[in-house]
């Protein structure tokens, strides 16, 4: 279960993102959403990623603009895609991570906000952030979090 100390560590890791503009915001498989930050990196496939890469993975999410609810992870694909694209080019103004479940609020310029809600207390990652140094910050399962090399595989 995450506590205030965990939240402080995670927010410190995400602090360099503040002030950067999101780009390449798109809806992936299912309700997965990905956002890129920072300089584009050499592509290993068809998709170009930023130095920072947010992957909204196993959690629910909602995009808001002020008092307006734009779309959430249970809406139809068109609405989800439109909400994801709405974050394109917006400057990240702050990230707040909430204990104990590692819910998170990503605040963007123009009053836009991406809210992440962890849905499981036991299994699966809620959201992932690929960092420029090759590490991956994983929120979940439950209130746990980890920092590991993105290239690390292993024996199942």
């Amino acid at each position: 279960m995450a506590d205030a100390n965990d939240v402080a560590q995670i927010q410190a890791m995400l602090a360099p993102l503040v002030g950067r503009a999101a780009w390449g915001c798109r809806l992936g498989h299912g309700s997965f959403v990905t956002l890129e930050f920072g300089e584009p990196q050499p592509a290993t496939g068809d998709v170009v990623h930023g130095a920072w890469h947010l992957w909204v993975y196993g959690c629910a999410w909602r995009v808001e603009r002020g008092d307006e609810l734009l779309a959430g992870s249970d809406d139809d694909r068109d609405a989800m895609a439109t909400a994801a694209h709405a974050l394109d080019g917006l400057e990240l103004e702050g990230v707040t991570v909430h204990a104990p479940g590692l819910d998170a609020t990503w605040r963007f310029s123009g009053g836009f906000c991406l809210r992440l809600f962890s849905m499981s207390a036991l299994q699966g990652e809620h959201w992932l952030v690929y960092l420029p140094d090759g590490q991956v910050l994983s929120a979940g399962p439950g209130g746990a979090w980890s920092l590991e090399p993105a290239a690390a595989g292993g024996v199942p």
Binding site: R26, L27, G28, H29, G30, S31, F32, T34, T44, G45, D46, V47, H49, H53, W55, Y57, G58, S73, D74, R77, M80, G124, L128, Y130, V136, S138, E148, P149, A150, A151, A152, G153, G154, V155, P156
Partner: protein, 530 residues
């Protein structure tokens, strides 16, 4: 009396013959009693034999059809992916060429504008220099004239002063001196006035010419600026026109390319659909044949078993299945999945209760099928039902789960289940059976209701196979998320190691927006990292 009595005893079964007849009668009576008390095993043996023969035929037909289906799908998918890749490549090339043309045109236009601007500036510079030279020349000329006039006046003044000084030295005639002085004064005054007049006149002329030159320069400047502005507008218009033409050409090419790609994909899809329809028709025909044979043989055996055991099972069959179907079908508020789960819970209770009374082959068959089907459903849901299924303590059921796990056509199974469950609302109990050893061949199942066997589902099978051919990801967002995670886990099992976060991200990059199915994702993982 005793002899008559003995003879009578011999005539009515006494003696050796009588003993033999009595023993035979007792044997017949014993066999009859056995046959009456335990008819089940004999009938079960017949049903088992019939079912085995039918299952063997179904297995052969199923393997053939499955092979055809499996052989047909990958080439079609590869062709479609190939066409899509070519289309994307072509559009990218067209886009690049258009961008290059636009860049070249913009470069030419910018160069032209710069050249025109430089020419206009040079012209203005030349006009400014000419004006400046003219003004300098006029000023120099006036300065020379003034200098000459001033020198002439000064020379005259000096000579007159000298003459006056000479006359004064001579001192001979004061009147002449006075007259000479007066003459000299007048000369000096006239020269000074003429000098002032010349200066004033020269300055006025200088100002006039300067004003004329300035006006001329301003006029030239205005004319040059107007000419440059007109040229800039002309170049802008030409650039806009060129850009619009290029844009129109790009759009036309893109539209043409998209149309050609769409037509090619449509043709490929139509051809694939035609081939699949042929295979489906073949499969349906085989299904119908196999089902008819199975149903005929099983129904004959089970009808006999049911009739002979009606005292034990008739009421339980009718009550149990009708109750399960009615209870599940009547709950309209539940989702389709909940209905599936509820139905099989009720059906399991029924199967367990009837298992003690009906020939074991029928019960085992149904239990096996229940396990297989529920495992298919659970796999489709990313193992959601596995904890529940683990609790069922039946070896046959667990063997059925193992078989269900191996079913290749999971989506077809799920679609068939959906098709079968859809009929629950009509009070008819429908299910699907995966035949052991066929590698996933599904047939419509026989369900006992009111002591009769009902065969249903051929249409649902056809619809299910068509669904399998056209559908990829499940409709629900969260289900798609679970599908991806389950596929990653399955892929990791197949390649024998865990994927890194980078590799999982690459898988996601690859499948995003492409409507991949569970098995396609697993296969992609194996292809990429296996």
């Amino acid at each position: 009396m005793s002899q008559r009595g003995a003879a009578a005893a011999g005539g009515y079964g006494g003696g050796d013959k009588g003993q033999a007849q009595g023993a035979a009668a007792k044997d017949v009576a014993g066999k009859g009693q056995s046959a009456v008390q335990q008819p089940g095993p004999a009938i079960a043996g017949e049903a088992t034999q019939s079912a085995a023969l039918a299952a063997q035929k179904i297995t052969t037909a199923g393997q053939r059809v499955t092979s055809r289906l499996q052989a047909e799908l990958p080439p079609t998918q590869q062709r479609l992916h190939g066409v899509a890749r070519k289309t994307v490549t072509g559009l990218n090339q067209l886009n690049q060429r258009s961008a290059q043309q636009l860049a070249q045109t913009h470069g030419k236009v910018a160069a032209g504008l710069q050249r025109k601007e430089a020419e206009a500036v040079a012209g203005l510079d030349r006009q400014t220099a000419t004006t400046r030279n003219a003004l300098a020349s006029a000023a120099a000329r006036h300065r020379g004239e003034l200098t000459t006039t001033t020198r002439a006046a000064a020379g005259k003044l000096r000579s007159d002063t000298t003459a006056l000084a000479g006359a004064a030295a001579r001192g001979q005639d004061p009147r002449a001196i006075a007259a000479a002085l007066e003459h000299a004064r007048s000369l000096i005054g006239a020269n000074v006035e003429r000098f002032v007049e010349r200066i004033t006149s020269g300055m006025a002329g200088f100002h006039t010419r300067a004003a004329q030159s300035s006006a001329t320069a301003q006029q030239h400047l205005a004319q040059g600026a107007k000419t440059a502005q007109g040229q800039a507008q002309l170049i802008t218009t030409q650039s806009d026109t060129a850009g619009q033409q290029l844009t129109a050409q790009c759009l036309a090419h893109a539209s043409q390319g998209a149309g050609q790609a769409g037509q090619a994909i449509t043709e490929e899809a139509t051809q694939a659909q035609t081939r699949h329809q042929h295979v489906v028709q073949l499969a349906t025909t085989h299904f119908v044949q196999a089902t008819t044979q199975t149903t005929d043989k099983l129904s004959a055996g089970v009808d006999q078993a049911t009739a002979r055991n009606q005292a034990h099972v008739g009421s339980q069959v009718t009550t149990g299945m009708a109750s399960a179907a009615a209870q599940v079908g009547a709950d309209h508020d539940k989702s389709l999945l909940d209905k599936v789960v509820d139905f099989f819970k009720s059906a399991w209770d029924w199967v367990s209760s009837v298992a003690k009374a009906v020939a074991s082959v029928v019960v085992d068959f149904l239990v096996f099928a229940s396990g297989a089907i529920l495992q298919i459903v659970s796999d489709c849901l990313g193992g959601l039902l596995d904890p529940l299924l683990d609790r069922i303590g039946s070896d046959e059921f667990q063997r059925g789960r193992d078989a269900g796990d191996k079913i290749a056509l999971v989506l077809a199974g799920a679609a068939l289940i959906i098709g079968g469950i859809a009929a629950l609302g009509g009070g008819l109990v429908i299910s699907v059976v995966e035949i052991a050893g066929t590698g996933g061949l599904a047939i419509p199942v026989v369900i006992v209701q009111d002591g009769a066997l009902v065969t249903v589902g051929v249409g649902a099978i056809t619809a299910g196979i068509l669904l399998m051919a056209s559908s990829g990801t499940p409709g629900n967002n969260q289900a798609q998320n679970r599908q991806f995670r389950a596929a990653v886990q399955e892929g990791e099992r197949e390649i024998g190691r865990k994927l890194s976060k980078d590799e999982i991200r690459r898988v996601h990059d690859e499948i995003s927006g492409n409507n991949y199915s569970y098995h396609e994702i697993v296969q992609l993982i194996v292809d990429m990292f296996g």
